[in-house]
Symmetry: C3
Subunit: 343 residues, 3 copies
């Protein structure tokens, strides 16, 4: 069922190469749920600014993941929107970050990027009846399993290149410099990058996705800082963006993409951003016991809960077109529930 | 869709204040799945007998949770039955028990009680197609995340006020005094309270919910004691009610609320009570590795499994009205499965 | 709704005793998803060759589990196909392996075998709408909970009789002897048995299930060895079959039972076998932190993901008759999704 939004009209000659390039570029922006090409370009540039290995592995992951989806013959509209690239992008970055820049890591990145569309298809089946979408869960599952299993294998484990964030460090004074760095690092940490300048470029990229998107990203970042400070999180972790990147994603997803643009919906999104900030500490403690990684699980779980609650909350309204990418095809809603009560 | 059962008829003038008070009171009884007002009153009294902080936090949690549901505009019939209060009640008690009586804990109790109706709505969406209900899972999720995340935050963590139950202590002779204390503590431990006198008052409260309810509560408590003793659990833990409170809840839920009153159904409920007793040890071991808490997970998981199995077991029969609260609206059943086989 | 495939025709007199015996025998073969009687006979013989306690507990588990299903009145066709025996079989073996040959273990094996059909019915309800089946999950859940909870109870815990596999041992040269032992142990480790001769008998048993079944079992075993070697797993673990038994199960299930016999489907199954091999390391690391056991979880999770992804992958085709046992009744498919996209 090709849609005019994602396919050229009969009058325009189809150019597969440029279609593939656009799908690839859009994959980077879709990490923040944005299909705008300019957003993708600036995100890609920011990743190379962060580090050449981060940029290279992000390119490998996005390209292989998108190409795999095409080979597997999945829905072409979704591919064109970059919806099969973003999990591969994050998987590539996560693998080089936690396994180091070794030849074996390149092979694993390719393998992980191949697995992402499969996990995406499986989660779409499982979540579809509830009207939920996989978000970045394919990335979290593939990367989580690979990083967790890696130390068991001699050919892919070369010692840990990255130190785990210590969420139990003590709290100090939060300076204006901390707050400024936190505000931008909250955006870059979505891609596991700590440098606040990278977050600045990405926030610039989000302006091309529209005022509502960049506005909720900024509000989410501020809510994340405020919540972490109010709870008494260590200022070093706040400044590194460890406590805020999930808040940014929840604010964008719930505030600017999945729900309609009403005041109650916006407050709901920011409340979710605060909840995701607290959840980050609990999940990090849980994952640390077995050597797992938090990744974007707080965002995913918070967004799933918030969106699954919407049918029971009559003051909230889903977005008219539920797909984040302008895809005109409706996501199947939850089966009709005659009336709701929680027990 | 207002129902005559939960709303006054046109001839009776609506009195919002008393409706709110009844919803609040019923929230305490609904921890044991009972909407009877007298049950709620005696449970509330028992909690103040246990400790004034327990009573106070239970009141805060129940009131805030019920009020949040009203503000969010969820189904008024469910609110009136106390179905949006019980998870907040338990959350308040759990937070003061594991975080201590500090100003920050009051704020967290309010926040947790606000989150409970959201989790309730989300779980209702996810479990609805299977004909399952959230039970106390909103409490377990909200309190579990908050207690697990708390040590990461300087402003809310003031050291651990409660020692974890040590399920590996060795076994001694089980005295009649142990058995008597266990019988009543199994009822009070549902509210995280160890004093057997509190359980005695609560069992008295359950008599107002009907003979079948108090009968299955007593039977569940005895099955819990017997199972724990037969497996060789330490008698101190048995006497403290650690091994029996999930058995009581399973017996009430499956034996007196969710299934019809037949002999096979009753045996099924008591078998489930025994299974929940064993599951308590496994889950406590699991949760201890990352500092989590067992809470009422054994009850929830056992009841979900037992109820999900019912469509495949033709000798068992669900209750005519599936709602535990007299709510006349039908819970949507599982989608029609033409025939069942397990692989 | 009796089916002609599993019940004698009206001209043949029904003989309950032989029906029960056939259901019992088939339970052993159904561990590998095969209803052929000869396969079951050879599997049963192989288990007694492994060790008399293994054989005895497998018999107890299979018999009690099948009988429980009959008493509970579940679908007779499924019972006749051995579909209610295999989880009990594995549960019996797991309990004697991890708890030792004590009187209490016999009682637990009976209890565990009673629980398996209940878990099977519950999982069938939960997975049914997605067209997924429980596979060996009832075994993994029942045995996992029992083994995890056992050390808490004085009467059932007599010290650990089995050492956990150490997946972090270092790698050596892989000899031809290692490869030969691995090839057969990958088949026997499905039953938690390490001796390669047992795997040889079982592979012989699989020949009676057809060329496609034994072919995919052999291919799966080879893919498991190759993947583990390529990743750099310790050769002792490879030779013991620790890394390959899930690959064998995935290859049989996806390659020879659940999908149609096409080339893309076959490659998909072998890709899944490789993925399950890697997943084994990650899950073993995860389970070790709390004393849990990997069992056949890598097979189950990989197969669920692969099968849930099929509706989104138009190049793959499910088997015409979705039931692995010749049962002619259709498994309900997932609810109709008008179009698929992963976010």
């Amino acid at each position: 069922m090709p849609s005019t939004a994602t396919h050229p009209s009969p009058l325009t000659p189809v150019r597969p190469a440029s279609t593939a390039l656009l799908a690839f570029i859009r994959g980077f922006g879709q990490v923040d749920l944005q299909p705008a090409v300019a957003t993708g370009v600036l995100f890609l540039a920011a990743l190379w600014v962060a580090d050449w290995t981060v940029g290279l592995f992000a390119v490998i992951g996005t390209a292989v993941s998108t190409a795999t989806a095409a080979v597997l013959g999945v829905d072409r509209g979704a591919i064109a929107q970059g919806l099969h690239g973003y999990s591969g992008c994050l998987t590539g970055i996560a693998l080089v970050t936690y396994l180091g820049n070794h030849p074996s890591t390149y092979l694993l990145a390719v393998l992980g990027a191949i697995l992402c569309p499969l996990l995406g298809a499986a989660l779409t089946t499982l979540l579809g009846p509830y009207g939920l979408t996989p978000l970045t869960a394919p990335f979290c599952l593939v990367s989580g399993v690979m990083v967790l299993g890696a130390p068991s294998f001699d050919r892919i484990w070369h010692g840990s290149p990255a130190a785990l964030a210590d969420t139990t460090a003590r709290v100090d004074m939060l300076t204006w410099g901390d707050i400024r760095r936190a505000f931008f690092s909250n955006v870059s940490q979505i891609f596991l990058v700590q440098e606040w300048q990278v977050g600045l470029i990405m926030l610039l990229g989000l302006t091309f996705a529209g005022l509502r998107v960049v506005g909720f990203a900024a509000l989410g970042s501020m809510v994340g800082i405020l919540t972490a400070w109010a709870l008494g999180a260590p200022n070093t972790l706040i400044a590194q963006g460890i406590y805020g990147y999930n808040a940014v994603l929840v604010a964008i997803a719930v505030g600017a993409v999945l729900l309609a643009g009403t005041v109650p919906n916006g407050l709901y999104a920011l409340f979710g951003a605060a909840a995701a900030t607290g959840l980050t500490a609990a999940l990090t403690t849980l994952f640390k016991t077995f050597g797992g990684h938090t990744f974007t699980w707080p965002f995913i779980l918070t967004t799933w809960v918030l969106m699954a609650a919407v049918p029971g909350l009559p003051r909230l309204r889903p977005a008219r077109a539920p797909a984040p990418s302008g895809d005109p095809v409706a996501v199947p809603g939850p089966s009709p529930l005659p009336e709701r009560h929680p027990r």
